[in-house]
Subunit: 332 residues, 2 copies
């Protein structure tokens, strides 16, 4: 099996790559080849029992997309995207990469399929809960209307519509997954407005202070990086017919308040660690977070076998196992 | 006020043109200029007190779209589209006209706006209940999910998303309206699968036989051509702020069964006329119609003042008034 990952240098792309290199198979099929694509060259992967190729190119140029497909990958993980903040700041770039880049990918698969009618890859598209815009009920059902309030969400929602239509027409077998906020995100703090959900856990665990810009009663929707990889590999291997005509699924996750996040941290790491969280209210972030969905009833995905953590302590434990050497790196 | 109509040679475009020529104003503002665009030259309009220009060009070519906007119309009615059947038969053409053509129109408005920041036209986009795909409840609420099962519906749903985003960003003031099936459609029978809803009324009224391909318990969603024009002119003149961030609205209409349509015809024109309807079940049409929504609770649009007929007899009476010289052309 030949696998292509676009956006392979991103956090989830790297975790997915690591998983595929470690297991060597996907859904029971041995991996024969892995193509890793990103704008910057994905980090040199460790030796594997199969061929791994890293490609650095601009995804918004159609010829680069075509080049990625010339060897007809059986499974495509499409993760490449301009992040939400950048899509708002640079209107044209967001549409060029997130929408047109995705459409070009779909069109190039279709172009191959028009010559080789047996070619019908599984295409897993990483979408986002950013397709939603308020007002929201307390919990969103699977058929909640995608009515985005941002350009990023609009680009993802449009790509989801194309994914369904191209799948209905038989050009490929597409499945879109709307990821929760990934928490605890490893690495340095970034500028994403949602970054604090991770940093209030990640920084205190290694002896650093973290800033909390919102009130503790803010509720949000989380899953671990490990769950995100599980969503992607599961989406790559499930029976496409079982998904039905609506090809994008809300992924399961943990809905909890910031207070519950902090309490979970206290139970796992103690009161000293929790004291490293500083309250620094930030009106801009408060306003943005108020526009995000807080909880989902991800029934379709759960019925199809997608699994996430069931409480926030589990999410912290995954972080400790995967990023803090099982706890050896915790600073109490 | 300068008004542009794309797709002006279509049935609704012609009715809208006639309305604007007759009234000479739109929402209280005198019309100073009217530009009528279509692929074929719109029929020569009757003399008017203002300048009327007819333009024939291919809407899918971006330079033609730009040319339509060079004089900065204040109000744009965007009706140009490849119809649903053709969008299914010719995948590329449907996307090229219905989606890319619409996007080019939006981009060209934005391009003007980037130089002339005060330019912010009202843009009325004719969308369709084709954005919906089953399964449906008996009645669709305003927030029912657009999950199209056709390429036509996908193209319209994507254009609706763009309309909202471009409006949020202030590039124009867009309002999308999802029209019911327009009934009684004047003119000759066409090949649209929905055509029989009109022909079983239109043909018998003038002494001709009509074919009914579905069972009489089929329920559907209708509004008259006169209502469609009312929706468009109302959408052009309402307060954009009152619409809120979700810029596309389900229009009101009449939900009734074929049996109720026939009974309304009998009450108005008598049993002889009704006897001209022949039962000719057509499995293909039966299957297609089974996939269409049957009724809407168009609360948002109704609250904003959009009005349709309230029963099917009214719809027939509008047809008689507007197309059959008030009844003189009825053949009993």
């Amino acid at each position: 099996m030949h696998i292509l990952i676009t956006g392979a240098a991103g956090m989830i792309g790297r975790k997915l790559t690591q998983n595929l290199l470690t297991t060597g198979h996907l859904g029971g099929a041995a991996i024969s080849r892995l193509t890793l694509h990103d704008l910057i060259e994905p980090v040199a992967p460790p030796p594997a029992s199969f061929r791994v190729m890293a490609v650095a190119s601009d995804f918004s140029a159609r010829e680069n997309v075509a080049a990625l497909l010339c060897d007809k990958p059986d499974t495509i993980f499409h993760l490449a995207a301009v992040v939400s903040g950048e899509a708002e700041d640079d209107f044209d770039k967001g549409y060029k990469v997130n929408f047109m880049g995705t459409w070009h990918l779909f069109e190039e698969v279709r172009a191959i399929q028009s010559h080789i009618t047996t070619y019908r890859p599984r295409l897993v598209f990483a979408s986002s809960t950013g397709v939603f815009g308020g007002p929201y009920p307390e919990q969103l059902e699977d058929d909640f209307i995608p009515a985005p309030l941002t350009s990023y969400g609009t680009q993802k929602a449009m790509a989801e519509l194309l994914l369904s239509d191209y799948t209905h027409k038989g050009f490929f077998d597409g499945i879109g997954i709307r990821l929760p906020t990934i928490c605890v995100r490893p690495g340095n703090p970034n500028k994403a407005a949602s970054g604090f959900f991770s940093s209030i856990i990640r920084e205190p665990l290694v002896g650093l202070e973290a800033s909390l810009p919102v009130s503790e009663d803010v509720r949000h929707w989380h899953a671990s990086p490990r769950s995100a990889v599980g969503f992607l590999t599961h989406a790559a291997t499930i029976d496409g017919k079982a998904v039905g005509p609506r090809r994008t699924l809300n992924m399961p996750g943990v809905s909890c308040t910031v207070a519950e996040q902090i309490e979970a941290l206290r139970l796992i790491a103690g009161a000293e660690v929790v004291r490293r969280i500083r309250r620094n209210p930030d009106e801009k972030i408060i306003r943005m977070v108020a526009g995000w969905p807080r909880s989902f009833n991800a029934k379709r995905a759960t019925d199809l076998g997608f699994k996430a953590e069931t409480n926030f302590q589990e999410i912290i434990r995954v972080h400790i196992e995967d990023e803090l050497r099982g706890g050896s790196d915790i600073v109490v």
